[in-house]
């Protein structure tokens, strides 16, 4: 065991994957499609989410290719509009919103709190089917010629002025939305009612706290999006007039309803990622997360404040100037908990014993990029600078720093971190470190130039742009190719590791979570006996004592 790593694997010559586990329990496609096991459903989600990520990524590639030159020469403008709309719809509703919660959250929350499953396994399976149904409708939309509303469905453009497949997309997102509602609902119930004896609220891993906060947003925010979409559909089919200025309706009302969900939605996307980072940073610095309660409550604060900032998407839309004051102020307040988290993570490293395995590298990437993403969010929440920067590439860059630099880094960090738990096998370390580095470099090349483009005033959603913006766009496209390689590598080597990876054993990282104290991959009902929890989260001394006891048992 070299001193620069904490990985401790069982002796590879004798080790084997436990014969009985949730994967080998039953065989056949039906046993997966009708399963109630949260871990199997998480795997189903992982596969389907990766599929849609690949589609969204390919569309992003097309966007960057088109923007290589100032003219719209690769595709016609309406094709470009469809491509960026589908990119947004697929990435947001079919990748970012379910990414960490539906895969890692689904897999881990019962394990972390010491439960045999989520409270409502059938609802959990139903939510995957709803997700798939939404996804298939999106695929149908693409096959039927796409949709070009932008993922924001701005009325009256989406209701009266486009002849593309707005209806099928609206219904798809409506359905996928209910998938998200049911996932959130399931998590809340599970966290409230299914905790093992001794697992008090303040012994919960921060991963669980952040999922709890995100779930509140899913349950309360998503139905408002659903009703906004219902009204869009009714407006489009019947012309009921609620969003139609010609009939006395107010298109701004749609903006209110839409952003009432879609701003909290970015917290739905980022909060679970923050949970991953807390786990990873603690594990690889062998330390309890600095200021546990502050980090836990900052998640809840984000969820609460997150509901009252939506109007900052509408500062230049002619809303009352005084209401912008309130919403700008609240936006400043919601930025503070994120700052608290970043500093607490930094100080978790203080006097730790740090190692740099792949999950940790991604976590460092997250911290840097999310800091930039978060701070540039303040530029947009400040009313004055928002006037100049909104609706430009600045907002594109900000959003991608938070969502791709933040969330996707966290997702990859989490996938690498829990891969041994999910599959029983390690991923190859060296190449994955390289992939993390490539991703980080490619990401910055792709999106940092976009901050400058935005400051210069380049509007977003433009298929063609003035020639003076080309140089920075070329940088961005070049970076995107690097980023593409960075994302392709994990898909390849993780698939490879399913068969050829080293046997991980139950706790390769020497981590403290309950999920690491059971076999990898876990049994169908996780715990043969429900554990009794007698220690806080991230209690490395407890782990040490446990190991000592086990050593005594084997030596006797």
């Amino acid at each position: 065991m070299s001193s620069s790593t904490i990985v401790s694997l069982p002796d590879q010559s004798t080790a084997r994957i436990p014969k009985v586990n949730f994967i080998t329990k039953e065989n056949g496609l039906l046993s997966w499609l009708l399963t109630g096991d949260h871990k199997r459903i998480a795997m189903l989600y992982l596969a389907s989410i990766t599929f849609f990520f690949a589609i969204g990524g390919a569309l992003a590639g097309l966007i960057r290719l088109e923007l290589l030159t100032p003219q719209s020469d690769l595709m016609a403008t309406d094709t470009y509009n469809k491509v960026f709309t589908m990119h947004g719809v697929v990435m947001i509703f079919l990748f970012l919103v379910p990414s960490v919660p539906a895969t890692l959250g689904n897999f881990l929350i019962p394990l972390m709190i010491g439960a045999k499953d989520l409270a409502l396994p059938k609802i959990n399976l139903l939510s995957w089917y709803l997700y798939v149904a939404g996804g298939i409708l999106v695929l149908y939309t693409m096959a039927a010629g796409g949709v070009d509303t932008g993922w924001t469905f701005t009325t009256p453009l989406s209701t009266h002025y486009l002849n593309t497949n707005v209806l099928s997309t609206g219904i798809a997102i409506f359905i996928a939305g209910f998938s998200s509602i049911f996932t959130g609902l399931n998590f809340i119930v599970t966290i409230h009612k299914m905790r093992a004896p001794g697992m008090t609220w303040f012994r919960l891993p921060l991963f669980v706290w952040s999922h709890y906060a995100a779930s509140i947003l899913m349950v309360l925010g998503t139905p408002v999006l659903a009703i906004a979409l219902v009204l869009v559909i009714l407006e489009r089919t019947m012309g009921i007039g609620v969003f139609d200025a010609a009939k006395g309706g107010d298109p701004i009302l749609f903006q209110h309803l839409f952003w009432f969900y879609s701003h909290p939605a970015v917290y739905i996307m980022i909060l679970p990622g923050m949970g991953v980072i807390s786990e990873v940073i603690s594990t690889f610095s062998r330390k309890r997360v600095f200021g546990y309660t502050a980090v836990a409550f900052s998640s809840v604060a984000i969820a609460v404040f997150g509901f009252f900032v939506w109007e900052h998407h509408m500062f230049i839309m002619g809303v009352s100037s005084y209401s912008t004051l309130v919403f700008s102020l609240l936006t400043m307040l919601v930025a503070v908990p994120s700052a608290i988290k970043i500093f607490n993570w930094s100080f978790t490293l203080y006097k730790g014993s740090i190692t740099f395995e792949t999950p940790m590298l991604y976590a460092f990437g997250f911290m840097g990029l999310f800091t930039i993403g978060g701070l540039t969010g303040v530029f947009l929440g400040t009313t004055g600078t928002d006037i100049h920067l909104t609706e430009t590439y600045f907002i594109v860059a900000h959003f991608h720093f938070v969502m791709v630099g933040g969330m996707l880094m966290a997702f990859l960090s989490g996938i690498h971190f829990w891969w041994p738990k999910m599959t029983g096998r390690m991923y190859p370390e060296k190449i994955s470190q390289l992939a993390a580095l490539i991703t980080f470099i490619g990401f910055n090349f792709t999106f940092f130039p976009q901050f400058i483009l935005g400051t210069l005033g380049m509007p977003r959603r433009y298929a063609a742009y003035p020639a003076e913006f080309q140089v920075l766009n070329v940088f961005s496209t070049a970076g995107a190719t690097i980023l593409g390689v960075g994302y392709l590598l994990p898909i390849l080597y993780l698939t490879w590791s399913l068969r050829y990876g080293e046997i991980a054993g139950s706790n390769p990282w020497q981590a403290t979570g309950l999920e690491w104290q059971i076999q990898s991959p876990p049994l169908t009902e996780n715990f043969p006996e429900i554990p009794i929890v007698d220690h806080d989260a991230y209690d490395y001394d407890w782990l040490e004592r446990k190991h000592e006891r086990e050593r005594e048992v084997t030596s006797v």
Binding site: T5, R288, F343, F364, I372, T383, T385, D386, G457, R461
Partner: protein, 362 residues
């Protein structure tokens, strides 16, 4: 190889000649907004540097090689308070500073010259008070506050001038406004920044900033012979508005001279101040805007008159008392009529009614 290096060279040359980090500052508000922007960039850089220093510093100091056993620390209330209060304080400074700029950008001064802008898929139409029309272009003089009153005929658009640091959405069904004072002559980008359909990225144009003299010349050179108010006057006559709004004692509608900027009491007891938005609403949805003492007999003009037509009418009614705003109508040499009675007379005597169709459907 040769070929590639040439491409690379061209690329570098392009970069070096075209590269800039922020757009030109061509309006009075631009330096103010940039000051805040650079303050925020500075704060962000300091914040980012602190995070990077903490992370790399601790990573080096406390790597497993150097520091094999971690020391468990619970946390620190003092530190929590520090990194709650300091960011909050900085954010609050940004909030106040930003709000001051926001109110400045969206509160036009009283002496601003008003130019109307109508957005439609996919073009901008600017209408100067003197009747000059421009498509996807806007000529403005330096040293003079210009107010833009924006409206959209179809979907949301957004009128953005990066060099001025101003932007405002043009929304169907209501007026929005923004103002600026250009400081540097030149041609600047005009973008539609709100996604508006197929040719969104073609909805661009030029903002041409000229010296006041050049601007005057341009106005004279591109006049259509009729100011907005005069055009409105013709519409006023051809739509038979003057049949009721004629200022006579027995008129069925209220007199409109001096109505702009005044306070009215409506039949439902509401008190309103008359501005562009009110006039527009009163023409399109009259039954909700009946002045006290009159009956709700005015028909709606929704669907019968384009946004441009409404603008002309609004401009005409605004100028019905020849206050100082009339003087801003630079090329309007003939004095505008004082009252509706006269207006109707002018309208009919010049035989403008014959062009009714053309005017309404412009």
């Amino acid at each position: 190889m040769d070929h590639i290096s040439q491409v690379l060279w061209q690329f570098l040359e392009k970069w070096l000649t075209n590269f800039s980090l922020y757009p030109p500052e061509a309006s009075k508000i631009a330096p103010q907004m940039d000051a805040l922007y650079f303050f925020m960039v500075l704060v962000s850089l300091i914040g980012l540097t602190i995070v990077i220093l903490l992370v790399t510093g601790f990573s080096i100091l406390y790597s497993k090689k150097r520091h094999p056993v971690a020391v468990q620390i619970e946390g620190s209330t003092l530190l929590e308070a520090t990194w709650t209060i300091i960011p909050l304080g900085l954010f609050l400074i940004m909030f106040v500073w930003g709000a001051l700029i926001y109110f400045r950008v969206y509160t036009p001064p009283a002496n601003a010259m008003n130019i109307y802008v109508v957005g439609k898929q996919w073009m901008w139409k600017a209408e100067h008070p003197g009747g000059q029309h421009e498509i996807n272009a806007l000529h403005v003089p330096t040293g003079r506050p210009i107010q833009l009153t924006l409206i959209s005929q179809d979907v949301f658009h957004s009128f953005s001038i990066p060099a001025f640091r101003v932007k405002r959405e043009a929304i169907p069904g209501r007026y929005t406004s923004v103002w600026f004072e250009a400081t540097k002559t030149g041609t600047y980008h005009l973008f539609c920044t709100q996604y508006c359909g197929t040719n969104h990225s073609a909805m661009i144009g030029d903002i041409v900033v000229q010296t006041p003299d050049e601007y005057k010349k341009w106005l004279q050179g591109s006049t259509s012979g009729m100011s907005l108010a005069q055009n409105g006057e013709r519409l006023f006559a051809s739509l038979s508005c003057s049949a009721c709004h004629n200022g006579r004692a027995d008129a069925r509608g209220p007199a409109l001279a001096g109505v702009y900027g005044s306070k009215l009491t409506l039949t439902n007891g509401q008190s309103v101040s008359v501005d562009e938005a009110y006039l527009r609403e009163a023409i399109l949805n009259p039954s909700e805007h009946v002045t006290q003492g009159y009956s709700p007999i005015m028909p709606t003009y929704q669907g019968q008159i384009s946004e441009d037509g409404v603008i002309s009418l609004v401009e005409y009614i605004k100028n019905l008392n020849s206050n100082d705003r009339v003087e801003q109508t630079l090329t309007t040499t003939t004095l505008l009529p004082e009252s509706e009675g006269k207006a109707a007379a002018v309208g009919t005597s010049t035989g403008q009614t014959s062009t009714k169709q053309g005017m309404v459907k412009q």
